[in-house]
């Protein structure tokens, strides 16, 4: 079973379009900078993040929303990227086929809730944002922006959310329930997540360095990315160009700890194994891995062990693109799906920036230069709190 991908849209710290993101990936231009947009945070101007340097009102203007809108930043980013994906897939009538939206978010409208938490009680003018808090509201807004009427749902499994949204979308097509599904994820930076990760002491005070012996933690980021998945029937009837196929996926739980990953990477190992099994390929077929690689001591060690367990001494070229974008939580797997497809399309392995020293516990190390190489099959990993581990396999059309 292979599911066709016919469109993609993205907005991240390294660009507002697929082309801009690709140009940055190729030229090694990272998007990590000091926090600016959250004006009343103590972390402003100090903390390194993958921030999109567009204000909410600039994003609203790009979406041509009326002044009275009640979009959270997460919804603004999501609606923008999803519209771009649908445009890219040359869809003029979104409801011409049975179409669904499976979107992912972890913070939802938290940016507005933290801004107006107490103010809501005194100031009726901001109350329109009360209903923008929950995760489902984000997906409803995106569906409305697309004019989509159909099955709409939302997945929130922390940092693996978008991978699971992609998986669910594919299964809805495979089971014949839908012809077309817009899948992906969106998360805006918020005080809530910044301070949450800060209390866990896994934020780096400088630029994140995945798979480096001296890595100090992650940089948070914000982003949204969506893919258009379409059934073979739609592809046949519309003669549409296929960008890539989703050819396998796996989801497993580490069942080890609420926030930490097991030392041997059991959940990650199982997810990758399931994905390979589903794609019906051996591990030798994988040409490149876009790893989760958050640059926390725990993740990279756990993922590294899982990679060595799955691939043995033949671990393919791998890199984390989080030094470019930061860790964009529920959007991460969606933006990395776009990067995996770009890698396939251009036969390029993107460099793992900021890497200096190989980890002592592992015999593998990431690719640190832009590498030209024929790529036919790419694996993308995403793991999250709650032991949630997901792996996706993309292949050339």
């Amino acid at each position: 079973m292979k599911i066709a991908i016919t469109g993609m849209g993205i907005i991240s710290a390294i660009g507002n379009t697929v082309a801009e993101n690709f140009a940055a990936l190729k030229s090694g231009k990272a998007g990590i900078s000091n926090l600016e947009n959250i004006s009343n945070s103590v972390h402003k101007g100090v903390l390194k993040v993958g921030e999109i340097k567009l204000s909410d009102s600039a994003l609203a203007a790009m979406l041509k929303l009326p002044e009275t809108h009640n979009f959270s930043r997460t919804s603004l980013l999501g609606a923008y990227a999803a519209k771009k994906a649908v445009e890219n897939a040359n869809i003029s009538d979104i409801n011409a086929y049975a179409t669904g939206l499976v979107s992912a978010t972890s913070v939802g409208g938290m940016d507005k809730t933290e801004q107006y938490f107490y103010q809501y009680f005194e100031d009726p003018s901001v109350r329109k944002f009360i209903t923008s808090h929950d995760a489902g509201d984000v997906s409803h807004k995106i569906a409305d922006a697309l004019g989509l009427k159909g099955m709409v749902t939302t997945i929130s499994t922390a940092c693996s959310s978008a991978a699971n949204a992609i998986m669910m979308g594919a299964r809805l097509i495979a089971s014949g329930q839908l012809d077309r599904v817009i899948v992906g994820g969106t998360d805006a930076l918020s005080k809530f997540t910044i301070n949450g990760f800060n209390t866990l002491m896994i934020l780096s005070d400088t630029y994140n360095t995945p798979f480096d012996e001296n890595r100090k933690g992650l940089n948070l980021g914000e982003a949204a990315a969506y893919l258009v998945l379409e059934s073979d029937k739609v592809i046949k009837e519309t003669n549409k160009e296929v960008l890539a196929y989703l050819s396998g996926y796996g989801n497993a739980n580490d069942a080890y700890h609420q926030t930490a990953s097991s030392a041997n990477g059991e959940g990650a190992f199982l997810a990758m194994k399931k994905a390979l099994q589903m794609a019906n390929i051996s591990s030798f077929t994988i040409d490149y891995i876009n790893v989760h690689g958050t640059a926390t001591p725990n993740n990279d060690l756990s993922e590294g062990h899982a990679l060595q367990r799955v691939f043995g001494t033949a671990v393919p070229h791998f890199s984390s693109t989080k030094p470019y974008t930061g860790h964009t939580l529920a959007a991460a797997a969606a933006i990395e799906a776009v990067y995996s497809i770009l890698a396939l399309q251009h036969n390029l392995v993107f460099p793992n920036l900021n890497f200096k020293n190989k980890m002592e516990e592992l015999y593998i190390q990431p690719t640190t230069v832009l590498l030209e190489k024929e790529l036919n099959t790419v694996l993308s990993n995403s793991f999250g709190f709650g032991g949630n581990c997901s792996a996706l396999i993309f292949s050339k059309p």
């Binding site: 945070s41 938490f117 995760a135 499994t157 495979a174």
Partner: protein, 355 residues
């Protein structure tokens, strides 16, 4: 294609549903309350005492009901855990956010942040069972649970999975509920008493609860019912509802007359109850039942509705307290559940008797 059977279930709700049997557990609630709270059991049999103190109510309700549903199905392990929650772990989210705001982002501790993630309940169940299988959490308003149920059935019918724990959880959280009062989603106490069937005011009586089901690909002595189909729609007009229902029935090769019982999600909101009137209008000869006058409204209250439906099919008995109309049937084979919230997140679920 394999079928998807409910072989165990458990509910914590405003009713005494956790300890008591189906027929005897359902009692009328105080019509002068605009917020109802779930009746908590003694968690000691399910959760270690230290964890009981640390966990928010939603996590405890979820862990306890999942354990009981599993036990009832005679299972000790499952291959997948799938949850739905509209608002997620609101208590921990509020707590962490208040600390951020009140202490200007200083002196924070991680516990409430760790427990605030939407997938906390699914993760805690996986940890408790050491279950390394498929683990998903859906968070989409009033179809959060139905999304989880759809996925659970797809796991069984299409992914070769033999057993799934699926549940819906939403908890009371003081600040969130006060914001809902502010925007009128929760009824104004000035307008008591409240009636779910004959409302005169907007908003609903809000509540909380957790309902879990153990699903398997095989039928056995403990089977309640078969989940046949689930259909979701983000928005509809009242005029579009009959077509939505008709195509659902057609897909399942059923005439309206084959539906013995229609269970509607009426929540006493005069603004949106028209959808339910429209639905009942389409099932003139079916028994009409409602349940939110007993459970209250919350994003996953429809899981309580499914709990009601599954119990009716197994026991072939309908408690009078659930009835809207007086139609009688000799037996109950097919039940359709219809739910929506504020005109969004419409769902249809078809349940079949296995007798």
């Amino acid at each position: 294609m394999k079928n998807c059977f409910i072989n165990g279930l458990s509910a914590i709700s405003t009713q005494d549903t956790f300890e008591s049997d189906f027929v005897n557990s359902l009692k009328t609630v105080n019509p002068n309350e605009n917020i109802l709270r779930a009746t908590e059991p003694n968690y000691k049999a399910f959760i270690p005492p230290a964890a009981i103190r640390r966990m928010a109510k939603g996590i405890k309700m979820g862990v306890a009901t999942s354990a009981k549903a599993l036990e009832e199905a005679g299972l000790t392990q499952v291959e997948a855990i799938i949850t739905g929650t509209g608002m997620g772990c609101s208590q921990d989210s509020e707590k962490f956010l208040k600390n951020i705001l009140d202490n200007h982002e200083q002196f924070l501790t991680p516990t409430s942040f760790i427990q605030s993630t939407h997938n906390t309940v699914a993760a805690q169940i996986a940890l408790r069972l050491a279950c390394k299988g498929y683990n998903f959490t859906y968070v989409n308003g009033a179809v959060s649970f139905e999304s989880a149920l759809l996925d659970a059935c797809m796991q069984i019918t299409a992914a070769d999975i033999a057993s799934v724990l699926v549940g819906g959880i939403d908890e009371y959280a003081a600040h969130t509920f006060s914001l809902y009062e502010l925007v009128g989603f929760i009824k104004d106490k000035k307008n008591v008493p409240f009636s779910v069937l004959n409302p005169t005011t907007k908003g609903t009586v809000f509540s909380e609860g957790a309902t879990f089901f153990a699903l398997e690909n095989t039928k056995n002595a403990s089977t309640y019912a078969e989940v046949v189909d689930i259909q979701l729609r983000n928005k509809l007009t009242s005029a579009e509802l009959p077509t939505f229902i008709a195509s659902f029935l057609e897909k399942n090769n059923l005439e309206t007359s084959a539906i013995d019982v229609l269970i509607v999600g009426n929540n006493g909101d005069v603004e949106f109850d028209g959808f339910y009137k429209e639905a009942m209008h389409g099932f003139k000869d079916s028994i009409h039942l409602y349940y939110k006058h007993l459970s209250g409204e919350y994003n996953t209250a429809s899981a309580f509705g499914l709990w009601v439906a599954a119990n009716i099919l197994r026991q072939q008995e309908i408690p009078e307290i659930l009835r809207i109309n007086a139609i009688e049937k000799k037996g109950y084979r097919n039940i359709v559940l219809y739910n929506q919230y504020r005109g969004l997140d419409h769902s249809l679920v078809l349940l079949k008797s296995v007798n």
